[in-house]
Amino acid sequence: MKSIRTFRSVALPVVFLLALLVGDSRPAVAEDGELQRCQSRRLVCYFHAQFKDDALSAMLAFFECDYEHLNCVRRHIVGR
């Protein structure tokens, strides 16, 4: 149990930092490699979602990750 808590306390800040570095700190305008960026953000989102307190919250968080990913791809492919 303690190891899980330790893992959470270490892993989650790292994930948030990664999300900031890889994702939100970059401009919204589409650039080369944007699709890879969308995929990276989804993986970070999935990783975060599995640490929800209960199964339902985790499932909803996973769905939310998918919607965010879809929106990210859509912005790049269809947005102008």
Partner: protein
């Protein structure tokens, strides 16, 4: 006989030379103040105007005479995330308020007037005639990627022949995200995000056209930025590539293609373009990356 052959050859040479003498030229670049720099999430072409919707919920009207006006979309909630814009043949404007909600925007006031619950996710939204053309969220490999329905009867669905969802690849990736350009009559040009070919379809009969990108280094993720049909055999195509001056991808080359008689013209755009606003057989109006309206015409 030899004189006759020579005459025919000479005539053909002159004819071909005359066809090839045509070129594209930028004739006008206007810089209206009202066009926002925010990401364009929808474009709709009505009879007198082209409408743009941005992710900051601004609605811009570019009239065919060049006048530009802008209004904020009102009546949206904090959770609404507008996407797509479609103008039906009756002049009504429609957008996706959320993935499962369709909304009608009053084009005089910009107010969101109607909301229609779809119960099914739709990813993209376009129009052809009196029907909305859209893609559902989870396209099935091997089946049609696009469907149509009347706006207020979302369950009266017809599949749209043309784009078929490819097998393999990332289910949510660019290979399955359909994009459509400017339609003419009942014909719409549509393509998948990273494809180098597009289909022209009336919903029942379709054909596939290779984009004329061989002569350039097109962007790998969005090689086709936009297509505007002007007839069943003629179109304008905005090709994506890296804009060296801005360091990002955008529409760097504009093609004008006629199939009968065959004619393929192109011009490199500076500044590069975001999207096509309107097109006729001999004229194309684009929105440039610096917010200008660029007119490209075919000169004889």
């Amino acid at each position: 006989m030899q004189i006759a052959l020579f005459s025919v050859t000479l005539f053909l040479s002159l004819a071909i030379g005359r066809v090839n003498a045509a070129e594209l030229r930028v004739t006008n670049v206007a810089r209206p103040a009202a066009i926002p720099a925010a990401m364009i999430v929808g474009r709709a072409v009505c009879s007198d105007s082209t409408w743009l919707l941005t992710d900051s919920h601004q609605l811009t009207e570019v009239r065919n005479d060049g006048q530009v006006s802008q209004r904020a979309v009102t009546g949206v909630t904090a959770t609404d995330r507008l996407w797509g814009l479609a103008c039906l043949s009756d002049g009504t404007l429609w957008t996706m308020v959320e993935f499962q909600t369709l909304g009608r925007i009053d084009n005089r006031t910009g107010r969101l007037q109607e909301r229609i619950d779809l119960h099914v996710d739709r990813m993209t939204l376009y129009a052809v005639g009196d029907r909305l053309l859209y893609q559902t969220r989870r396209p099935v490999p091997g089946l049609a990627a696009l469907m149509t329905s009347p706006a207020r009867r979302p369950y009266a669905i017809k599949t749209w022949a043309g784009l078929v969802v490819p097998r393999g690849g990332n289910p949510d990736g660019s290979t399955r995200m359909a994009v459509c350009g400017i339609a003419v009559d009942a014909l719409a040009p549509c393509w998948f995000g990273s494809a180098r070919q597009f289909t022209i379809s009336d919903g029942m009969v379709s054909r596939t056209i290779d984009a004329p990108l061989q002569s350039m280094s097109a962007d790998g993720e969005t090689p086709i930025r936009d297509v505007a049909l002007t007839s069943s055999t003629a179109y304008w195509l905005l090709a994506g590539g890296r804009d060296g001056e801005r360091g990002r991808t955008s529409g760097v080359r504009l093609f004008r293609v006629r199939e009968n008689p065959s004619q393929n013209l192109f011009i490199d755009l500076k500044p590069s373009a975001r999207i096509i606003l309107s097109a006729s057989d001999t004229r194309c109006v684009l929105l440039t990356v610096d917010g200008g309206l660029m007119e490209v015409v075919v000169t004889p």
